[in-house]
Symmetry: C2
Subunit: 97 residues, 2 copies
């Protein structure tokens, strides 16, 4: 249930002594949503990742990569042939597309 990006955001936020409420207002969502995002209970929108990077002074590219990894993980978790499918996709994107 936990996500890489959620964990990272919580880590960044607490290290900077920011309250959920403070991040929430800047992101323009309810406090409960941020709480759930950090704990992987609610998905984080891609556009929100960029905003979060600004709020938390983090590297946008790094957060976006974590976000994408979470998306992929969500699809392959509990899947028997995950490794083979991942290999196939990796190969495919390496050539051009």
């Amino acid at each position: 249930m936990a996500t890489q990006l959620g964990d990272k955001i919580r880590e960044l936020r607490t290290k900077q002594n920011l309250l959920l409420r403070q991040v929430a207002s800047k992101l323009d969502v309810d406090t409960s949503i941020i709480s759930k995002m950090e704990r992987g209970e609610r998905p984080i929108k891609k556009e929100q990742v960029a905003t979060l990077a600004e709020i938390l002074n983090a590297d946008k590219q790094e957060l976006l990569t974590l976000w994408l990894a979470d998306q992929v993980m969500d699809v392959i978790k509990d899947e028997q042939f995950a490794d083979e499918a991942l290999k196939s996709v990796t190969k495919k994107i390496k050539k051009g597309k």
Copy 2:
């Protein structure tokens, strides 16, 4: 837009001289749905893949892997950091999960 699984299904179906209508009735969906599935215009449900394998005398595992690869591809297509995210996920599932 095209999918690996859709292409495979069409290939299997036509090689066996089966009509959309025939596959549709066995799968219990409208003809138009199969048409769209084959061309990647409609997603294929995981449960349907198993049924399709039976109908088309194909290897269930192979089709399921194609299905999963399509799911992953759907998430990472157009993504700038796809390669890095895939690498990260691959590493993560290799150690136990």
